[in-house]
Structures are given as structure tokens and as C-alpha cells.
Amino acid sequence: MIQEDMTVLSHREIADGIFELKLHGKIPAEISEPGQFVHVRVGGSSGSAAPLLRRPISICTADLGHQSLTLIYRSIGLGTELLSHAVEGKKIDVFGPLGHGFPVDAVPEGGRALMIGGGVGVPPLFGLSQMLADKGVQVTHVLGFRSEKDIFYENEFAELGETIILTEDGTNGRAGRVTDVLKGIDFDTAYACGPLPMLKAVQTMIGEKPLYLSMEQRMGCGIGACLACVVHTTDRDDGKGYRRVCCDGPVFRAGEVELC
């Protein structure tokens, strides 16, 4: 967990309003698991008022050899829109890596992993899948997007394993939602990242098998001090009764916290 000014190596729009940002610095060496995130200060030198707070963005992949990491984010508001204008060579204030990611060891050796992603929930699954594939795990990806223009990394995922693309409007891949195709897929462990309704539906369908979910929540500090991003535990007898998405998560074992 360090704060540094990282250098933009490359920055490009890979789908409609979706940007791939590669950064160089010391943070990649600190990353312990796929699914961790960084807290990015955009347009921010002290003195400029807006935007004030950092933006949590999940880490897609990290390359230790090149000291680089890749972020994929959607330009959707004041902060990410400003970020999308960062050009090669520019310095960006990044704090991280933060949080607990996906447990790579939750898949038995030679086992099968299922990754379920929705929209901008897809990026951290790519880093995860890369690590699992390196370990010899057989990976299957089920990725849902709104429309053809929103799809990214289709080929990258396909190189790692079977990849099923769905679009809500049927403009690419199968028409429908990720939950439409889960039934026929065999796996040992599943991982999911995407909008809350998707996580809820996936949790209901997966049932007994191990499932890990990456949550999203509005954050303040990003390190567990401000208690902005708390979620209730499902266990009423839990000593604390809550978890902090930023530091206890963002990845939780299905059933550990309430999805609401």
C-alpha cells in the first residue's frame, strides 16, 4: 500500500466510453492478489477543488517485470471523464494496491474455474483468469455486456479459455444475461464481478459450490478508516456485524455479506 505518481504508458478507448490505462511505477510489485484495486486522484493538485475524492478502480492486470499495471474503467462522471484525457507520459497520483482480491488457491490443482462478469466488472476477472490459467486451471468465462459497442477483451479472454459473450440486446454473442447460460457449465470454483442484481442472481444460481463475489460501494478513504462502504454480514452472531468493502473486501465469499 503506497502512494506514488505513476506514469501513463498508454491510454486508449477499447469500447464505447471504456478506457484501458497502463501505468508504470512501484505499486505493481505490491500487488498480492487479482481483484485488488487502486485509489486514483484525478486532475488533482491541491488548490483545484473538483473532484476532491479519489476514485476506486479495479486492477485488471499487473506486470511485475515491466513494473506496470493495467486499469480498465468506464468514463461516466466528473472524475473518470477527466481521467480519460490523461495522455502518455502524464503522471497520475495513485494509492494502492488496496483491499483483498480473489483467492487464486480456491481452485483445486488441475481444477476448473468459472468467471462471471458484467460490464466494467469484467476487468479484474481477466487478471484472475490469467493467473489461474498459468496454474493449469481450466478457465471458462461468461461475460455480459449491454450491447456490441460495450464489449472489450473478447479475444484476450478467448486465448485463455472458453468464452461466452452475451449482450442484452443481442447485437453480439448470445442475447440475454449471464445467468441464462450458467446451468450447463461444470466447474469447481466460481468468481463473479458486476452489478449488484447480477451478483444476487449468480449467488442464487450457484448454490453450494464455492463462489467469490467482488462488491462495489461508494468509498471515502479506501483503507477502512471512514466506514463509508460498510455492508452487513449475513451472520447475525458475527462479532462485528459488518464488513468494509474497501479493506475486508472488495471480494467476499458468497454468503459472507448481504447483497443489498
Partner: protein
């Protein structure tokens, strides 16, 4: 040059993280040595544990943020048993913020907290805007604030700083009322009550609907209030509201503060407190000031 001496608090420097923005220090201790800090104001303690408000609890605003955490804390006993022992390892005084719903809650919490040797002073939170019974009712009527202050003072073994709400018509009347009731100092200011509405859902962004506004956006209000109050009371003021750098600290001192707390800026830059502390000596030198204490209230003394 940076040391300041206030009731119960001999501080190596006047910079401390504000209550609620630093939890009990464990998270920030992973980033830097807490011995660098002048003091630490820990998160509000209530008599019983509280979960706080539903989420979303925070929303960004131009130059600031709204929060409605809702005094989430494990309760005074848990804090004394599990959080304070860790802080005892540091050579940094702890100021314990206490809140409650009823006068009796405050009194019992103050009694317990002030007995702990790690705690050097209490900060009486009569100004949390985010819970129905979080103290705001104690912080908007001078007579009520004075009565509570007197009762807490009667049981507290440590000096009591009263944290004032800016959501009042006459801040000077509030300050004078708690001074007369025996307050040893003031903390100014707590957050301003605000709201943001989501254009898509057409509803308030925060689950609690309203929240407390903090950050640089409120700094001019805090500066004005401290400027007014410091001329009318004899007790020292810990100034807070939007401090981001050493220049802001100096502005607070010029207005009349004798120490400062840094809140929201910790979220923007987790290392902001030590950065400010390291910047201050150079700033003072360039002003020809040998002790930061010389600056207290200079804006109205000159």
C-alpha cells in the same frame, strides 16, 4: 517552533487528524509513524455500540463531501479495551470524541473515557448532524449545550473541549454558553448539514437523505466563525474544516485557532498530516515567526 500547550494537551505540533476521519489510527499506522502527529482525535464513542446509517453514506460535492456515517462505533467499553491500548504505544496524546442520545449517555461515556490514562482530553460531540439523537439537539440551543457541558465537566477527569455545530444562527452565543459552563476549549467546526439529489433516480444520493458537508468548501465558514468566537472567549479553539496544507493551518491560526484538525483531506491524501507538519516550519520561517503560537488571532489583533 511548532509546540503548543492547551488544557491537558502538551503537543509537539498543532496538527491532528479530526474525529471520524482516522478511526482509531490502526489503518493510518500502516502508512506512517503516528508519533509524528500532534495528537489524535479518535472516532466518536457512544455508550453502546452503533451500526450507523444505511449506505450510500458518502457523496462528493464541489470542493467537498457529504457524509452520513451515523456514529458507527463499537461502544465505549470496546474502545477502551481494544483500541486505546494500541494507541498507548505512541507518544501522541489522544483526544476522545464522545457522543450520545441522552444526557445520561454522555455523562457515563465521559466518565469511563476520561478515566483511561491514554485519553488526555475529551471532545464533546454536540453537533453530529447525521443521527436523530446524535447530539445535534444539544448543539443548537445555548442553554441545553451549557447544561450538558456542565454535567460532563462534573464527571470528567480530563479537560473537555466542546465541538460546536455551524448549523446555528449565533455561533458566538453557543461558544460563550459552553465557556461559562466550564468548557476547557472548543473544537470548531463540525460539518454543515447538506444534501445532494441524484438526477437519474430523482432522490437524495445519501440513504440518510441529509449529510454533513466537509472539505475545502466549508473552510471560509469555519474561518469566519473562529474569527468571531476567538475574540469573545478566553478558552482555546481547535480549528477544523477543509484544511489541506500548511497555508490553511496558518490561516486558521490567524483567525484565532490554537491548534488544528485535518479531516476530509486524509481521504484525498492519506499522508497529508505528516506532509503538513513537515511543511509548517519552512512556512513560519519565511514569515519571520519563531513560534506558531504567535500567530493565534493575529488577523484581529493587528
Amino acid at each position: 517552533m511548532l509546540d503548543v500547550h492547551l488544557p491537558g494537551l502538551d503537543l509537539k505540533n498543532p496538527v491532528m487528524p479530526a474525529s471520524g476521519c482516522f478511526a482509531f489510527g490502526a489503518e493510518y499506522a500502516k502508512l506512517y509513524d503516528l508519533n509524528q502527529l500532534g495528537a489524535i482525535i479518535i472516532k466518536a464513542a457512544t455508550l453502546e455500540a452503533r451500526f450507523g446509517n444505511p449506505t450510500p453514506r458518502v457523496a462528493e460535492t464541489p470542493g467537498g463531501m457529504l457524509n452520513a456515517i451515523g456514529l458507527q462505533n463499537p461502544g465505549v467499553d470496546q474502545i477502551i479495551d481494544h483500541e486505546l491500548p494500541r494507541l498507548a504505544e505512541y507518544d501522541t496524546p489522544v483526544i476522545a470524541n464522545i457522543a450520545g442520545s441522552e444526557t445520561s449517555d454522555y455523562v457515563r461515556t465521559a466518565e469511563k473515557m476520561s478515566k483511561d490514562p491514554v485519553v488526555r482530553a475529551l471532545e464533546l460531540n454536540i453537533s453530529c448532524p447525521n443521527v436523530k439523537h446524535g447530539g445535534i439537539q444539544f448543539g443548537t440551543v445555548p442553554e441545553v449545550a451549557a447544561e450538558l457541558t456542565a454535567k460532563v465537566k462534573a464527571v470528567s477527569e480530563k479537560p473537555v473541549y466542546v465541538k460546536l455545530s455551524p448549523n446555528v444562527t449565533d455561533i458566538v452565543a453557543m461558544a460563550q454558553a459552553v465557556e461559562q459552563a466550564g468548557a476547557d476549549g472548543l473544537s470548531m467546526i463540525n460539518t454543515l448539514l447538506g444534501m445532494r439529489i441524484d438526477l437519474k433516480t430523482q432522490r437524495p444520493v445519501l440513504a440518510n437523505k441529509t449529510g454533513g458537508l466537509s472539505g475545502p468548501a466549508i473552510k471560509p465558514i469555519a474561518i469566519r466563525m473562529i474569527y468571531e468566537v476567538s475574540q469573545q472567549v478566553k478558552i482555546p479553539i481547535i480549528g477544523m474544516g477543509g484544511i489541506q496544507n500548511a497555508d490553511d493551518v496558518i490561516e486558521y491560526f490567524l483567525a484565532g485557532a490554537s491548534a488544528v484538525a485535518v479531516g476530509t483531506a486524509n481521504f484525498v491524501d492519506p499522508l497529508v498530516c505528516p506532509k503538513i507538519i513537515n511543511e509548517l516550519p519552512g512556512k513560519l520561517q519565511s514569515m519571520g515567526v519563531s513560534s506558531i503560537h504567535e500567530l493565534v488571532g493575529r488577523s484581529w489583533k493587528l
